[in-house]
Amino acid sequence: MNSYKKHALKLSREYTQANFAWVLSFVVCLIFLVNSFNYKEGTIKSFVFTIFLVYAIFTMYQLFLTWKIKKDLLKFGDIQPITRKLGYIQLLSILSANIFTASFAFNLIKKKKTPEYTFAVFMVFTQLFVIAVSTFNLFKPYVTDTFLPAMGVLVGILIFQIVTLILVSKYVQDESAPSWFLIITIVLIITSLTGNLFNLLLGISLVLKTRSHDRSRIMKWNTMWNKITRNSTAILGMFFIILMLSLSVCSKYTFDYDMAVENDYGSLLQKPSLEHPFGTDDFGRDLFSRIIFGARISLLVGFASTIIPLIIGGFLGAIAGYYTKRADNIIMRLLDILYAIPGILLAIAIIAAFGANTMNLILALSVGAIPSYARTMRANVLMVSNYEYVDSARALGSSDLSIIFKQIVPNSLAPMIVKATLTIGGAVIATSSLSFLGLGVEPHIPEWGNILKVGSTYLESHSYLAIIPGLAIIGLVLSFNFLGDGLRDAFDPRMD
């Protein structure tokens, strides 16, 4: 009996997440604590210290919850309703922007979690964060003309999302959803235009459940997303990526681009304050706005320089893998040449030849990535084309092209998607590295590498100019890597 309960502890999704949440929350706490002292003057920065205290309280509560869950599991084999009720208090931690404990709280209060529930929770989180970040503009001397209407729309969407969250948690089952959800779905898909892709995911998921009667399809969808959402790091990575995406869409209306690019000699190199949360740079430009606008470029270059080689490399790899021998030899030997030059060097050579701008940067990064995608695709195609369903398609008289694109390619996409997700991070790093060398995005565009380049000259006196953009890069890259790892685990049949 005892071993069964120990097993329950190991299996429990909540217990793992509880541990994860308190550890990370604790780390954030420590960071705030270290930063709350002014070492030179020996004083305490009251603002940072207050934040630390708030975080510390929620972390303590999180520890208490973790202990309670562990006790429940060891004593009863499952989490008691009262413990789940206690989770409602932890929901408050969302007000301190503690995403770790807040997302855990949402997981705790609901016993049976559908993928839709998780989507809805993170949809609300994303919206809250977008609104919170945009609100910082209120401390500025002026805001853009579109600020108020845009914020109105965002808050309206937030209210709608909260209603949806409640409805979803009440009515959506594992295998079906009431048909009146279709109306909500339409609104969700339209509102996903704000860049909040959780809306879109939730919409698609609901469409599947309201319309489809194919149980196996729904189960497959559920299993896949359950694996991803169970993985705390993967879903947090996804949250951060979508937050960045949503911010870069919304910033067009809520942020003032002039603040990021126009020189303001009245406020050069100012320390972080409420008006300029990250301070200003040597031309008096607001670093906070610049970072927000930089996300746009990083995401654009990252996605474009992943999708282009994905398509070209995937196509070449599929051809090489399907038509073995001669086509294979020619394609792969030519790609070997490309593979022999390190990606960054090839990019430097291409940019040296054609000039430094965003378009050339995307092309340069894409060309270097083609061979590795082609190799992955070829290996998959070689494996898939030996399966029976390919033989049967051939026996039924399908043409080669239709076999490749209808049977083989869809079945060998999963490893390609995983690879793509894992390499977007690399592309983001490469973009900023090249910009840092003066070989990437044009210097006047606020891009994280460019911002860092400026910051690196003020390393001694104003180090935050170099630290903050670096943290933004790491955050985005780390998120893509977490998501990629999660996707790999979800797609890998050996993990079952």
């Binding site: 490309l338 022999a340 430097i348 291409i350 040296a352 860092l452 390393l459 180090s463 670096g470 790491i474």
Partner: protein, 481 residues
Amino acid sequence: MGLHKESSVNFGFADHLSYVFGKMMKRTSYRYLLLILGFPLHLIVFLFYRVKRKNDTYFTIRNKINTSLQTAGLKEKLIRDFKEQYVRKHAFFQEKVDEQDMNREVERIAQERYLKILAEKVDAEYKQQGFVKLTYISYFQTLIKKPLFLIVSLIPGILMYILLFLFSNFFIKFIFERLVMSIFVIAGVSVLVFTILYLSPFDPAANLLGEAATKEQIASFNHTYGLDLPYLAQLWNALKGIFTFDLGASFTGNEDVAASIANKFPITLTIAVFSLLMAIVIAIPVGIISATRQNTFLDYSFMFIALIGLSIPNFWQGLIFILNFSIKMQWLPATYNPQNMLSIIMPVIVLGTGLTASVARMTRSSMLEIINEDYIITAKAKGLNERQVLWKHAIGNAMIPIITVIGLLFGDMLGGAAVTEKVFNISGLGSYIVDKQFIPDIPAIMGGVIYIAITISLVNVLIDILYAFFDPRIRSKMKQL
């Protein structure tokens, strides 16, 4: 090879050559290579072969069987059978039978089958009578076995014999093929990089001489550096320069490009090698510990740190290091200085972080895969303790994929050196290329990029060879040719 050893006791060198010849002639690409390399020899031997073939019994037997089959009406019977199959197939798919199409198709299949049956019968008959079928290849093989022929033909066929010799040992053959392949890759890389730079819309002459330059000055600049030549001539010069280590002078400063590269390469390579060592020393133990303590707090922390290591941009890490260790704590110098060995520490760590992280992750997953293999379970079942299983049976096999990954990542590291070199102000090859790209200084960029690519190719060749040496599976695969 093994088969041959059994069949002949007097296993001589000439026999072996003849065997290798027969084997190589079966592969189209090698066949052409052999025929071209030994062309004068083959010309003479072929004439003899033509004379000999006329008297051969093979053709008489073939004619005899052919007529006997024709009188038996084999072909008509085949056509009838195939026609019936064709009609049935179409009836099954409910398609219409087109008479003309059908006849053509059936005729083709029947002819193919007929020739096949004929050849089989002839071979069977031939074997029964105890002859070897005379082809050019078998004729040549019998000739090589005669020592006299070998000595006479050594001079005209020397190239072909060298090739035969190289291919007579599977290991030499593997190394030879791998080297030839990398020469092709290097040539391809040179052509590619040159072409990219050739297509550049920038005009180095105008950039260097300034806007005030006259047409004559620009023309004379272009003439000095051979920029007025047609594409192919320039390409030829570039390729020649790459392989003879003479790339001419750079556009700015008029310095010898090959010499500058030779000056700057050692430091880039030194840092890369130290980073590699650091990665191996740290990452492999970390990966093994993570794998053996899967899903513990230690494992999670290691992998979390590794993922952060993968996500940190080199230049940012470098700046943070400088900020903390040079500016705030003043432990290490901020810029590289060849006289001060302490100054190499930070660049090595920064360059090696990404590699360490990926090798650690790779080691962990490779170990996990091995630990769950059946033979490990068997070893445990037989009573070996954890330590023996791990060290004797798991680690050796888990290292195999990691060596390849290290080889591939070494390339990325050399490529990424440019950023690290810029941050720490090291005058290595990477920063040399970056400094030269604004003009663009074509010989310098081309030389830098191509020599790095060559180094990477050679490292990978070396790893492949080592690999073939250590991995019994690859050795046995190579033996099969």
